[in-house]
Amino acid sequence: MSPITPFKISVPESKIIRLQRLLALTDFPTEPTNIEPWTRGPPLADIKRLAHVWQHSFNWRAIEAKLNELPQYMAQIEIEGHGLNEIHFIHQPSVIKSAIPLLFVHGWPGSFLEVTKILPELTEGGDEYPAFHVVAPSLIDFGFSSASKEASVKSGFNVDQHAEACHKLMQALGYSEYVVQGGDLGSAVARILASTYGPNSCKAQLINNAAPAQPTAESHPELHARVQATALTDGELAGLKRTQEFGENGNAFYRLQSTRPLTIAYSLSSSPVGLLAWIYEKLHDWADDYPWTETEILTWVSVYYFSRAGPSASLNIYYENEHRHPKKTLFAEMQVEIPDVPLGIARFPKDLILLPKLWHHTMGPVVYENEHTRGGHFPAWECPDAIVEDLRTMFGKDGGAYRCTGESDGYRVAND
């Protein structure tokens, strides 16, 4: 039985002092004068203002205290070939005993923070809509979980190991059956959970970053014929344009993190402003005009800056996922059909990869699909109601994944 202990975030004072010293020494670059803002990166005025707030008025201790009101724990989990790891996680069970165990998996540059807005609503319910027991870890190499260790074995610590960690965490909490919600890297982890631990343990997946393969006449003859016969909606056309734009213009971070993560690691570990710019660019570019406050931005960045494994450890998974041989690379793996685990797709218009909806059927049995009218890459943060609605509907009495976890269907039992 893996030991689980309560946990409170407590960043050493020395780290805070060092941060402020480095901010005080910041060398800012110049900026071209007549350009359209954001076309080349975060505007200088924004970065200067954020750096100033971070140095002088951002109160990490207050943020930390607020976060520590959440039920946080640390679990010791053994990962095959990679030794013992410590997983930081939020665990909020519902008062409804038969609530659905839900694993919420974040991505980059997100964190466990992303669950905090939806946590109260998800654990409510039991009458009109299902309730959930919510588990939201920091991925290993992120947040307050430990750093991954390179084993002496051939394979690196990639998405399979992250899935193993999450699965074992759910098991350790007594959730032999569970469902998973994930976006960004979290949606990749969700897919591996489904393929490796489904349908016995991982009973259903709701992802908000579907990246399906195009059905061909050879791979999916019926679906292919349907695709050929179906005109793309305006939304789908816009989505394809957005996907192309992302690939051409917004993907350099991915190329760098998946080929030369160590080169950029030096900057991200040694320069708070460098880290701030690296992350803030994506908070802006990937959200749907979300009005990020300074506190939000700096809290998200601070979770990386103060992370246990250091801000650069989070890049490891990008490299590992592209060097997963002899297994497939990440995107290829995400396209593999998982025929026996119910799949839900939440689609947000300002996300990065939006492919024609019929293609989703190459991924597995689509039991739920919702195309939202607003929101981007961080829906649990930008439009929490939307994700809550998706989960309640997909797993609700009329939903395609109702009762997938058997008697723990999220509804109040008569005598409760």
Binding site: L262, S271, A313
Partner: protein, 406 residues
């Protein structure tokens, strides 16, 4: 024409002090130990050793003095539609009055320093081999030239600036040599100013594959010779490998130059690793000393336009409105061209494809060297230039009155 003003590099004590403070506060990433130590980037132990040396042993003032032994100047150049730019350059005239005026154009992560190994030999000669008057600027946005903060300042504008620089020095006709961005610049000079740029040489030619609709003779010739050789296949494969795993830096420069600019401006070790990774990856076992690496990096750290500037040209190149830079520079430009191929350069193509670029006046293949030819193989580059413009060469005397010989 304004007279060039003599220039000496003089980095402030304040900048040195801040650098040291930051270096001593360096927070290190963890390294994932790997079978292939360089595959994720500049290895941690090497970077730590360099930073330690930088902090305790590297003598910038000594390197600064060494650089200041070269005759440096600055002059104001007007660029149409953009304004006036103060351009820093080395200008060394040969004792041979009829020496060939040559402009040497660096790239990234290089600088004007790259000319310093070949300069002393290039200005010699006049008897058995030609001599050159050498001009080597810091590109605008690099080194000790002024930076540009206006959108749209592309290779066209850079070429205009360096052409006007040569004109301002009294060189109405000249030849050009370059690699990396310098390669593209020699092509733009030849294209825009063929009446002045009488010949150009590149150590990184970038032809497109021969086009069946345009290059039927060349394609037939290659076919007749047995198609692409094993060496050609190897070249193309290594270019592809570079595109697959070594081009992320360029993608970042081309799409988000300001984002990476924040890191490069603020973090000396970030700047060091960004550059050092390429110094090693792009050379063929060149035994970089710590002094060399740190001098190269210091030129970026202490540059006049700052560390977010060098990336801007990549963004502009990618967003050029009319023809793409690749297509502009890969077209046939009717100005004599010399190409030198070095074994480990990043973009390598079958040498027979060079003929699509222009009239080939000189071609050499070297079984050594990489991206920084003037630094790694100065002797070979000097010999190539001497042969290209020598008495036996078809373009001997291409610059009127400046044959390179007494």
């Amino acid at each position: 024409m304004p007279t060039p003003v003599p220039f000496k590099i003089a980095v402030s004590e304040e900048k040195l002090r801040i650098l040291h403070q930051k270096l001593s506060l360096t927070e290190w990433p963890d390294e994932v130990p790997l079978k292939e130590p360089r595959s994720r980037g500049a290895p941690l132990q090497e970077v730590k050793t360099l930073v330690d040396y930088w902090l305790h042993s590297f003598d910038w003032r000594a390197q600064e003095s060494k650089l200041n032994q070269f005759p440096q100047f600055t002059t104001d150049i007007d660029v149409d539609g953009f304004g006036t730019y103060n351009v820093h350059f080395i200008h060394q005239r040969s004792d041979v009055p009829n020496a060939i005026p040559l402009i040497f154009l660096h790239g990234w992560p290089g600088s004007f320093i790259e000319v310093t190994k070949i300069l002393p030999e290039l200005v010699q000669g006049g008897q058995n081999f030609p001599a050159f008057h050498v001009v080597a600027p810091s590109l605008i946005d690099y080194g000790f030239s002024q930076g540009n903060t206006k959108e749209g300042f592309n290779l066209d504008q850079h070429a205009e600036a360096y052409h006007k620089l040569m004109q301002s020095l009294g060189y109405s006709e000249y030849v050009a040599q370059g690699g990396d961005i310098g390669n593209f610049l020699t092509r733009f000079l030849a294209l825009k100013y063929p009446e002045s740029c009488k010949a150009h040489h590149t150590n990184m030619p970038t032809p497109n594959p021969p086009d069946p609709s345009k290059h039927t003779d060349l394609i037939a010739k290659i076919e007749a010779e047995g198609g692409l050789s094993e060496e050609d296949q190897y070249r193309l494969a290594s270019t592809q490998a570079h595109h697959a795993s070594g081009m992320a830096y360029a993608m970042e420069h081309m799409t988000r130059p300001q984002t990476i600019g924040y890191s490069l401006a603020d973090s000396p070790v970030g700047l060091l690793s960004w550059i050092y990774e390429k110094l090693v990856d792009w050379t063929a076992g060149y035994p970089w000393t710590a002094d060399e690496v740190l001098t190269w990096v210091s030129i970026y750290r202490f540059s006049r336009p700052g560390s977010a500037a060098p990336q801007r040209i990549y963004y502009e190149m990618m967003h050029r409105e009319s023809m793409t830079v690749v297509d502009v520079t890969a077209q046939y430009i009717d100005v004599p061209l010399g190409t030198s191929h070095f074994k480990k350069d990043l973009l390598r193509f079958p040498t027979r494809w060079d003929a699509t670029l222009g009239p080939i006046a000189f071609q050499a293949e070297h079984d050594k060297g990489g991206h920084f030819a003037a630094w790694e193989c100065p002797q070979d580059l000097v010999k190539d230039l001497r042969d290209m413009f020598g008495k036996e060469s078809p373009i001997h005397g291409c610059v009127a009155g400046q044959s390179g010989f007494t």
